[in-house]
Symmetry: C2
Subunit: 130 residues, 2 copies
């Protein structure tokens, strides 16, 4: 879990412009932290293609900022999120994000969450601040 006294202080003192932050990186499926509180972090992700099936032991919230994201769920169900739409993936719920074209996504989740959850694998990323 990040140590907020080291990594978060100066950044959180400022106004964060979400669109501007999305210009700072190009990699897919690699969450970037833009804000941190005592209970949750806010991260940006660029999604493109299909991610791994996985779940987390905590809740996470997806908000689409630009583009379109499909969240595939077990049982052949899925939800499609467009800009300004929000979806809660509750703890333990297996899901597989998919974006046919690049999607700009905001994640809200507790500090220290690993993007691939319990599944691990080559898409596992180390979250960094931008």
């Amino acid at each position: 879990m990040p140590d907020p006294t080291v990594t978060a202080g100066p950044r959180e003192a400022n106004v964060v412009d979400i669109a501007e932050k999305f210009t700072h990186f190009t990699s897919h499926w690699s969450p970037k932290i833009i804000a941190q509180t005592s209970g949750w972090e806010i991260k940006l992700v660029k999604a493109h293609g299909e991610f791994a099936w996985h779940h987390h032991e905590v809740d996470e919230v997806f908000v689409v900022f630009a583009g379109e994201l499909t969240v595939k769920l077990r049982g052949d169900s899925e939800v499609v999120l467009r800009p300004g739409q929000l979806y809660v993936v509750h703890r333990g719920v297996e899901h597989r994000p998919y974006a046919a074209a690049e999607c700009q996504l905001i994640l809200i989740e507790p500090p220290g969450v690993i993007n691939t959850g319990e599944a691990g694998g080559e898409l596992t990323a180390v979250d960094t601040w931008i």
Copy 2:
């Protein structure tokens, strides 16, 4: 604190369209809950005019969805937030939101936070789901 087994379940199973939710209410400074997890809630607020000076014992995140919000801080400092901009108000920090024209605001904070914090007063609202 809301009981998620009673109030939150059905709503969270669905995609939440933030712009559409803002059409469901007109009152100012009265937070409406649109999503709830184990650690934080996401609320919508319509701000207009000047709110009370107050602080909270927890962190909260402000994100402007439409319009412009000024967050006044002690020591004659303030931050101005425009659409897509985010600001963390850390626990204990006294602040006074102000919007010259109506502003649509997204709040992210732990469950059970009272809008006026320790200050109380006539602007105190009971948060409800929309």
